[in-house]
């Protein structure tokens, strides 16, 4: 963050700071704007959150400008307006995040129960009868298993693949080949996920015949998406390792590969693990490539080499758009699956942050 000279905030009024708005006055503007926004309820006769927020923001920015212009002058007024606009923009962006998380927790908790984590969608006629009467049946055990298998395959492929590529780029790569690989990693980063799915489908169709849908194909599709992320983050981390460490190791007569394995990698391990965790978090919620390559199954399939599999994101999608009868049952399952997904992603995300903190070697940076 910048710690440049900031104009000193004026909390007390004296001869030097007269002609400036105090914090209390600025706070009053905020409160006033929100109340003014609330007036829209009176005019329209109903509570409308969107209109309230929009009106409050407009009122806040306008009031800040007018009042500051009168008290502090044109330049200061513009300065304050920018603060107001930027702060409002940030709060506005937080709105969807809060709304998404709130909605997912609220609607997802209805079916976030033991049946959901142990049951599958292979429903017996009794189950369906019970569902028609509003009972909670059907689960996502098969989808969770599928997600773990497919993501596991992708991780098993892309971590060594990506790590070795990063090592090549940082430790060995020179000249045309390295430059070519770097730019191709860039291109790979930009591959749309559905195209990665189509690629895996095309590959497996050519090898195993049309209509092939297996967990392995999904794993391959996710590998295409995950590898560049791993390469990027690992490359960045390996480059942070000070050259002195490598040179000290060489000076002791340690061969290059041992230097990499025992000096460079351990030093960078925090960043590398963080990058891998974030990469997993990125692909575990991928839906489109799995829709194309893995498809959907009613029951648990532990074999990634044979037959369709359900994964959590695809499960969420189908339960929502084809909820069956009554629709609430399917939609509740979809929200529960969405909640499970968000929890998994949040856990991975936080783990990555913690890993970075815990494993960060002292003295580096």
């Amino acid at each position: 963050m910048t710690s440049t000279l900031t104009p000193a905030p004026s909390s007390t009024r004296n001869s030097l700071t007269s002609g400036q708005l105090t914090r209390v006055q600025l706070g009053l503007i905020v409160v006033g704007a929100i109340l003014l926004g609330a007036l829209t309820w009176v005019f329209s006769g109903s509570v409308n959150w969107a209109r309230w927020i929009a009106a409050s923001i407009v009122a806040y920015v306008a009031a800040t400008y007018v009042i500051s212009r009168i008290v502090e002058g044109r330049r200061k007024a513009l300065d304050r307006v920018v603060v107001a606009v930027v702060t409002c923009a940030f709060l506005l962006v937080m709105l969807p995040l809060v709304s998404v998380i709130w909605t997912v927790i609220e609607r997802g908790s209805a079916r976030f129960d033991s049946t959901f984590f142990t049951g599958t969608m292979r429903l017996t006629p009794e189950d369906i009868a019970a569902q028609n009467e509003g009972a909670a049946v059907g689960g996502a055990y098969h989808a969770i298993v599928g997600t773990l298998i497919v993501t596991g395959i992708a991780t098993a492929f892309s971590v060594p693949f990506g790590l070795f590529t990063a090592i090549y780029l940082v430790e060995y790569g020179k000249g045309k080949l390295a430059r070519g690989i770097t730019s191709m990693v860039d291109v790979m980063t930009g591959i749309p996920s559905i195209v990665a799915g189509l690629f895996a489908y095309a590959l497996f169709e050519l090898v195993f015949g049309p209509g092939t849908r297996t967990g392995l194909a999904g794993g391959v599709a996710l590998t295409v998406l995950m590898t560049p992320v791993v390469v990027r983050s690992a490359e960045e981390m390996l480059r942070l390792v000070p050259n002195e460490l490598r040179e000290a190791s060489y000076a002791l007569g340690v061969p290059k590969w041992k230097t990499i394995v025992k000096v460079v990698l351990p030093t960078a391990i925090a960043g590398v693990l963080t990058g891998i965790t974030l990469a997993i978090a990125r692909v575990i919620g991928e839906t489109a490539p799995l829709l194309v390559t893995v498809g959907l199954a009613q029951d648990t399939n532990y074999n990634p080499l044979d037959g369709r599999m359900t994964t959590l994101p695809v499960y969420t999608y189908y339960q929502y758009v084809q909820p069956g009868i009554p629709p609430e049952a399917g939609q509740n399952r979809a929200w529960a699956a969405a909640l499970a997904l968000v929890v998994i992603v949040a856990v991975l995300f936080t783990t990555a942050r913690l890993l970075a903190k815990i494993l960060k070697p002292k003295g580096l940076r």
């Binding site: 909605t103 191709m184 095309a202 000096v263 999608y317 968000v342």
Partner: protein, 322 residues
């Protein structure tokens, strides 16, 4: 602790004759593995292009008139390209100003201690799976928009072709899809802009403030000019992401065939990615080939956009310090 001190590392035993041999082999094997992995990247990419081309080829050699939709491939893919670009452009227009403001807020306005936490939340936004955004968009955002924003736009801005109406009551419109896409690409643009803003030379900022500039004038004089290329390349990367985003659009839009400029009505052109996701599971034969060919078109478009983004980024950073 895994920290490695150079003094006590590794096989610090003096390399004997036999271990030297092992080392040489080790070096060769390890170096070969690394190089092989690098080359595999090239092979994979070539594979992506090759397999997609092979599978897309029958579209161009066969008669498409038996399939639903247009008789020619261009007639089929045209509205899809239009929809893809329209949705992504909408997302970009909505997201870029907000993202720049948020990046400025985090880099220059938020209290220092808060800034890292705030950045974390914005990054978390990027990690939420697109299917979750999709079902949130259709069940939460769409009803709100169709109640408040769409009728207002139709009444007040209906003279523009974009808002001609009739306004959708279900909220399954291009504008809803564009908004959800905007939320999804915002963290990318924010992250890149924030990074460049933080790299603004301290001296530029202090020189500006020393001349009596207010904070905003300082940002206008020092931070924004320095970060311009970062903003642009961030926006282009966001655009690339929006072009390929599938599930949110597939869930929200109710697609029709043809070109539709109206972004608040029930009739919308589909996007390439969403069209594949919707049709692929039920397709077979030539239909699959045609969908893969549209995927190839999408690949080409995103490739172009990303290439332009990289060009801008590399051109901007090199001379920016001067």
């Amino acid at each position: 602790m895994t920290i490695t001190d150079p003094t006590d590392t590794t096989g610090a035993t003096p390399p004997g004759a036999s271990s030297e041999k092992v080392s040489k082999i080790g070096d060769k094997v390890f170096g070969g593995l690394a190089k092989g992995a690098g080359i595999m990247i090239l092979v994979t990419l070539a594979g992506v292009a090759l397999f997609l081309l092979t599978e897309a080829w029958p579209t161009f050699t066969n008669d498409l008139s038996e399939l639903s939709g247009s008789d020619t491939f261009l007639g089929y893919v045209g509205p899809l390209i239009f929809g893809t670009i329209l949705a992504a452009t909408l997302a970009l227009i909505l997201a870029t100003p907000l993202a720049v403001a948020v990046a400025l807020f985090i880099s220059h306005y938020a209290p220092k201690r808060l800034a890292t936490t705030l950045a974390y939340f914005v990054d978390l936004l990027a990690a939420i799976p697109s299917v979750v955004f999709g079902i949130w968009g259709i069940s939460v955002l769409a009803p709100i928009l169709s109640r408040s924003l769409f009728p207002w736009l139709e009444d007040n801005l209906g003279f523009l072709p974009f808002f001609a109406g009739p306004a959708s009551t279900s909220g399954r419109t291009m504008l809803t899809a564009g908004m959800v896409l905007a939320v999804m690409i915002l963290p990318i643009i924010t992250a890149i802009s924030r990074e460049v803003f933080l790299q603004t030379p301290r001296l530029h900022e202090e020189a500006s403030l020393a001349l009596g500039a207010t904070k905003w004038e300082m940002i206008k004089q020092a931070v924004l000019p320095y970060g311009r290329s970062g903003i642009i390349s961030g926006a282009m990367l966001g655009l690339g992401r929006a072009l390929g985003e599938t599930m949110a659009v597939a869930i929200i839009l109710s697609p029709s065939d043809g070109y539709f400029w109206d972004i608040i009505s029930n009739q919308n052109s589909n996007t390439i990615a969403a069209n594949i996701a919707l049709k692929f599971p039920e397709s077979s034969g030539l239909e699959v080939n045609r969908l893969i060919a549209t995927g190839l078109v999408l690949f080409a478009i995103t490739f172009l956009v990303n290439a332009v983004a990289r060009k801008i980024a590399s051109a901007g950073f090199s001379g920016a310090d001067g």
